[in-house]
C-alpha cells in the first residue's frame, strides 16, 4: 500500500433492510492522514456505512475498500489496524472498565501501550475499577475511547464518540484526536457536534438519505454558501438587491442586512463602499448553516 492511497474508499454503496434503503449509492473517500468529518441527520445512514466498513454488514452493491482491502472478506486483517468507538457503548455487568480496555487491546493483537493507557485514564478521569452498569453513559464512552486511543492502529473509526461527555472531557477528546492526527493516523469522525467537526476535521462529507450530498474541505464547502453582512452606510444603499448572488436584503434607513453567495462577495463590497461604509460586520458561513440547509431540505422534501 502506497502512502497516497486513501484509507477509506467507498463508491456507489447500496444497502437495504427490507424496504428501507439505508444506503443509496454512498460515496466516501478518506485520505490517509486526515481527520474526516462524517455528517448527516439522524437516520441518514452514517452508522450503517460504518458497519459496512467494519464488515458487520454486507453491502448489496457498490465497492468499499478500507486500508486497501475488502472490509467483508478481510475483516480480521483489517481490524488489526483499526480501532472503533461506537456511539453507545455497552459493557458487561461483571467486568470492570479496565478489564474491558485490556480485552479490546489484546483482541486486536499486541495489546496496549501501558504508558499511554495510564495517561489516557488519567486525562479522561476514568475509574477503571468500576463495573459495567455502574458507569454513567459518558464513562462508558470513555472506556471505549481509552481503548481506542491507547491502541497502535492506522485508522480510528469514531461513531458519535463523545455522546454523553461533559465539555471538559469533550476538550480532552479533541486534544487526543489532534495528537492522533499528528502521529499520522487517519480518523473518520461521525458527529453531530458541529463545533467539534469544525475544529478537528480537514475534510467533511455530508450524507442524506444514504447518499453523499456534499464533500470537500471546509473552505471548499464554505465557498458554496452565503456570507451574511450587516453594514451601516453613509447614504442609502444603491441597487444592492439587483446584484447577482444576493439574497434576503433588508434595508432600514441607512442600515442594510443581506446574505451573499461567498464567491459574489466582491461586487457587493464594491457597491457598499460606493455608498460609504460607517461600519461593517461580515460573518462567514458556519458549518451549522451549511448543515442546517441540508436538514431543512430534508424537512421540506419529507
Amino acid at each position: 500500500m502506497t502512502k497516497a492511497s486513501p484509507a477509506v474508499e467507498v463508491s456507489g454503496l447500496h444497502k437495504s433492510f427490507g424496504r428501507t434503503h439505508a444506503l443509496d449509492g454512498l460515496d466516501l473517500t478518506v485520505e490517509t492522514g486526515e481527520v474526516h468529518g462524517f455528517l448527516g441527520p439522524n437516520g441518514a445512514g452514517k452508522s450503517t456505512a460504518i458497519r459496512v466498513l467494519l464488515g458487520l454488514l454486507r453491502a448489496d452493491s457498490g465497492t468499499a475498500r478500507i486500508l486497501g482491502r475488502d472490509p467483508w472478506a478481510d475483516a480480521v486483517e483489517v481490524h488489526r489496524r483499526i480501532a472503533y468507538v461506537p456511539g453507545d457503548v455497552t459493557l458487561w455487568r461483571n467486568l470492570s472498565g479496565g478489564e474491558v480496555i485490556d480485552l479490546y487491546g489484546r483482541l486486536r493483537g499486541g495489546g496496549l501501550d501501558k504508558g499511554r493507557r495510564a495517561e489516557l485514564i488519567d486525562r479522561f478521569e476514568l475509574d477503571p475499577t468500576k463495573k459495567g452498569r455502574t458507569y454513567s453513559k459518558g464513562n462508558r464512552q470513555k472506556v471505549a475511547l481509552v481503548a481506542a486511543f491507547a491502541s497502535d492502529v492506522d485508522l480510528l473509526i469514531l461513531d458519535e464518540p463523545t455522546s454523553g461527555l461533559d465539555p471538559l472531557m469533550e476538550e480532552v477528546f479533541q486534544r487526543c484526536v489532534e495528537e492522533e492526527r499528528d502521529r499520522g493516523r487517519t480518523i473518520l469522525l461521525s458527529s453531530h457536534i458541529l463545533s467539534e467537526v469544525e475544529e478537528l476535521c480537514d475534510r467533511v462529507s455530508i450524507i442524506r438519505k444514504g447518499r453523499t450530498v456534499e464533500t470537500g474541505s471546509l473552505a471548499d464547502l464554505r465557498h458554496l454558501t452565503r456570507t451574511s453582512i450587516t453594514a451601516e452606510l453613509a447614504g442609502a444603499p444603491n441597487g444592492l438587491a439587483r446584484l447577482p448572488g444576493v439574497h434576503d436584503v433588508d434595508v432600514q434607513g441607512n442600515r442594510v442586512q443581506l446574505q451573499v453567495e461567498t464567491d459574489k462577495l466582491d461586487a457587493v463590497l464594491r457597491s457598499l463602499t460606493e455608498s460609504g461604509v460607517r461600519s461593517l460586520r461580515s460573518t462567514p458561513p458556519t458549518l451549522e448553516e451549511l448543515f442546517l440547509r441540508h436538514y431543512e431540505d430534508e424537512a421540506v422534501t419529507r
Binding site: 458497519r51 480480521v76 472503533y84 457503548v89 470492570s96 479490546y104 463495573k131 471505549a144
Partner: protein, 538 residues
C-alpha cells in the same frame, strides 16, 4: 407545636398515597408485552393437564386396572418420589397425581420468567428509570409485575378447573387453584430474590434453583412416606399441591398456605424493594481490577458463562446423588402387573427394574441438559442483540472465533454436566459407575442435536433463535409425559431422545448415536456458515 404534630401525618401521606399510581397502566403494558409468551405458556400447561384424562382412559380402561396401578404406584418409593403418592384411583385423581406436580413446576417457571422480566430485567436495562420518572408510584412496577403473574396463573387455574370439571367440579377446582397457587407463591418468591441481585439472569437462575429445591424436598418427603405427611413435603409448595388432595376429599384449608406464602413473601419483597435504590441490590457491586488478563474471545466467553456452568454442574451432581439414592426403592415394585411393567419398560428399557429406573433418570438428565445447551448457545444471541458482540467483532476476531468460544462451553459443558449427573447417580446408587457414565455419554448426541438446532437458528436469523427453546421444551414434554400415554410413535420419534438406546440395562446400539452426532455436526456447520454470511443484527 401544632405544626410539628400535623406535619407527621402529612409526611406519611406523601410517602404513602401515590405509591401505586400508574399500576393499572403498567399492568396493561406488561400484558401487552407478554401477549405471546403468557398465552402460549398457559395454553401448553393447561393442555398438558387436560389431555391426560383421555389418555388415561385409553391406557387403563377399567376401574380395576386403575385401582391396580394406583396401589402399585403408591407402594413404590421411587415412583412416589418421581410423581408423588396416589390418593385416588379415579381418572381425576390419577391426572392430578401424574401431571399435577409438573404442571405446577411449569406454572412456577412462568411466574419467575414474568416477574424477573418486569422487575430486574427492566432495572438492569435502564428502562425502569424512564418508567419511574413518569407518573408512576414507587411500588407500582413491582405490583404490576406481580399482578401480571397473578393474572396468568389465575387464567391457568380457571382453564384447568373448567376443563376437568367433567371429572368432578371440586377436584378440578382444587387442582386448578393448587397449580395456580404454586405459580403465585413462586411469583412473590421471585420478587424477593430479584431484590438481592443486580443481574436478571442470576435472579432467574437462583429462583430456578429454588424451584428445583422445592421439587427435591417433595420427592424426598414422598419417598419416605406414602401419604404426603413428611415434613420435607410440607416444606415445598409443590408438596402442598399434593396435600390439597384434588379429587380425593379435598383439604381446602391447604389453599390457605398458598395464600399465606404469597402474601408474606410479597410483603417481604415490598419491604426490601422499598429499602433500596432503583437498579441497585442489597449485594453491592464490588470494584473490579483496574487491569485485566482476559485476552481472547474464548476467555471472555468462559468468563461470561462460568457461573452458569458451575450452577448447572452442582445441580446435576446433587440431583444425580439424590435420584441414585432412590434407585434401590424402585425394586419394591410389585411386578405382577403387565401394564405397569410395560410403562416402566417403555420409559427405560427391558432389563431389571433398577436399571430401568436409572435409565429413566439418565434420560431425564439428558433432556434437562438440552435446556442448558440451548441457554448456553443463545448467549450468542444475547451478546449480539445487546450490541456487545459488535466491538468484539470490530476487533481482530473473526465471527467463527467469537461464536466458537461460546459453543465450546455450550457443547463441552453439556458433556461435563452429563458426566457429573452419571457420577452422582453412581454415588447415590453405590455401584455401576462405568455403565452410568457411559449411559450419560450416550445422551450427548441428542443434546447436541438440540444445541445444533439453536446454532442453526441463530446462524439464519437471531430473531428465530429463541425458537430453540420451544423445540427443547417439546422434547422435554414428550419425554416426561409421552411414555405413560398413548402418544403415537411418530410424535415420540420427533424428539432426538426417543432414538437413543435405553442405558443402563438395554443393549448399546451405535447407529442412532453416530447418526445423531452427524446430524449435530451438520446443524452446527450450517449454523456457522449462516453466521459468517449474514448481517450482524443492529
Amino acid at each position: 407545636m401544632t405544626a410539628a404534630i400535623t406535619s407527621v401525618p402529612v409526611a406519611r401521606r406523601n410517602v404513602g398515597s401515590r405509591q401505586l399510581a400508574g399500576t393499572g397502566t403498567l399492568l396493561r403494558f406488561n400484558l401487552r408485552r407478554d401477549r405471546v409468551m403468557i398465552p402460549i405458556w398457559v395454553a401448553v400447561t393447561a393442555l398438558l393437564v387436560l389431555s391426560l384424562p383421555g389418555s388415561l382412559e385409553s391406557v387403563y380402561s377399567t376401574p380395576a386396572e386403575r385401582a391396580d396401578i394406583a396401589r402399585q404406584m403408591l407402594t413404590n418409593s421411587s415412583l412416589r418420589a418421581t410423581y408423588g403418592p396416589v390418593f385416588s384411583d379415579s381418572i381425576g385423581g390419577l391426572t392430578a397425581w401424574r401431571v399435577g406436580g409438573y404442571a405446577a413446576i411449569l406454572a412456577g417457571v412462568m411466574s419467575l420468567l414474568v416477574v424477573v422480566r418486569h422487575t430486574r430485567d427492566e432495572e438492569e436495562s435502564g428502562r425502569q428509570e424512564l418508567i419511574s420518572s413518569a407518573m408512576v408510584g414507587r411500588r407500582a412496577p413491582l405490583t404490576a409485575a406481580l399482578l401480571t403473574a397473578l393474572v396468568a396463573n389465575a387464567t391457568l387455574a380457571l382453564l384447568i378447573a373448567a376443563g376437568l370439571a367433567g371429572q368432578g367440579t371440586s377436584g378440578a377446582l382444587a387442582l386448578g387453584l393448587g397449580i395456580g397457587g404454586v405459580g403465585a407463591a413462586f411469583a412473590t418468591l421471585t420478587a424477593i430474590v430479584a431484590q438481592f441481585t443486580e443481574s436478571a439472569r442470576l435472579a432467574k437462575g437462583l429462583t430456578g434453583g429454588l424451584l428445583g429445591v422445592a421439587f427435591v424436598l417433595r420427592a424426598a418427603g414422598d419417598s419416605a412416606t406414602n401419604d404426603g405427611s413428611s415434613a420435607l413435603t410440607w416444606l415445598s409448595p409443590i408438596g402442598w399441591l399434593e396435600n390439597l388432595r384434588p379429587f380425593a376429599d379435598e383439604r381446602w384449608w391447604v389453599l390457605g398456605l398458598f395464600v399465606a406464602a404469597t402474601v408474606v413473601q410479597g410483603f417481604l419483597a415490598y419491604e426490601l424493594a422499598g429499602r433500596r435504590d432503583v437498579g441497585m441490590s442489597f449485594v453491592a457491586a464490588r470494584p473490579g481490577p483496574p487491569t485485566g488478563r482476559l485476552g481472547t474471545a474464548g476467555a471472555l466467553a468462559w468468563r461470561l458463562q462460568r457461573g452458569s456452568v458451575l450452577g448447572w454442574s452442582v445441580g446435576f451432581l446433587a440431583a444425580g446423588v439424590a435420584f441414585g439414592g432412590l434407585t434401590k426403592g424402585a425394586a419394591d415394585l410389585v411386578g405382577d402387573n403387565a401394564k405397569t411393567r410395560e410403562i416402566i419398560e417403555r420409559m427405560g428399557g427391558q432389563s431389571g427394574i433398577e436399571d430401568a429406573f436409572l435409565a429413566t433418570m439418565v434420560g431425564m438428565f439428558g433432556m434437562v441438559a438440552a435446556l442448558y445447551v440451548v441457554s448456553s448457545v443463545l448467549r450468542l444471541h444475547a451478546e449480539e442483540t445487546s450490541q456487545r458482540a459488535e466491538p468484539i467483532l470490530a476487533n481482530a476476531v473473526g465471527r467463527l472465533r467469537w461464536a466458537g468460544g461460546h459453543l465450546v462451553i455450550a457443547f463441552g459443558g453439556a458433556v461435563l454436566i452429563l458426566l457429573l449427573s452419571g457420577l452422582g447417580l453412581a454415588l447415590g446408587y453405590g455401584e455401576e459407575l462405568g455403565p452410568l457414565l457411559g449411559a450419560s455419554l450416550v445422551q450427548i448426541p441428542a443434546v447436541w442435536v438440540l444445541g445444533g438446532l439453536a446454532v442453526l437458528l441463530h446462524g439464519v436469523s437471531p430473531q428465530l433463535s429463541v425458537g430453540a427453546w420451544g423445540v427443547a421444551g417439546f422434547a422435554l414434554l414428550v419425554g416426561w409425559i409421552g411414555p405413560a400415554l398413548d402418544v403415537p410413535q411418530g410424535v415420540l420419534d420427533l424428539s432426538p431422545f426417543g432414538h437413543l438406546p435405553k442405558l443402563p440395562g438395554g443393549t448399546m446400539s451405535w447407529p442412532p448415536v453416530l447418526i445423531l452426532t452427524g446430524v449435530a455436526v451438520g446443524l452446527v456447520s450450517a449454523g456457522l456458515a449462516g453466521l459468517r454470511r449474514r448481517d450482524l443484527s443492529a
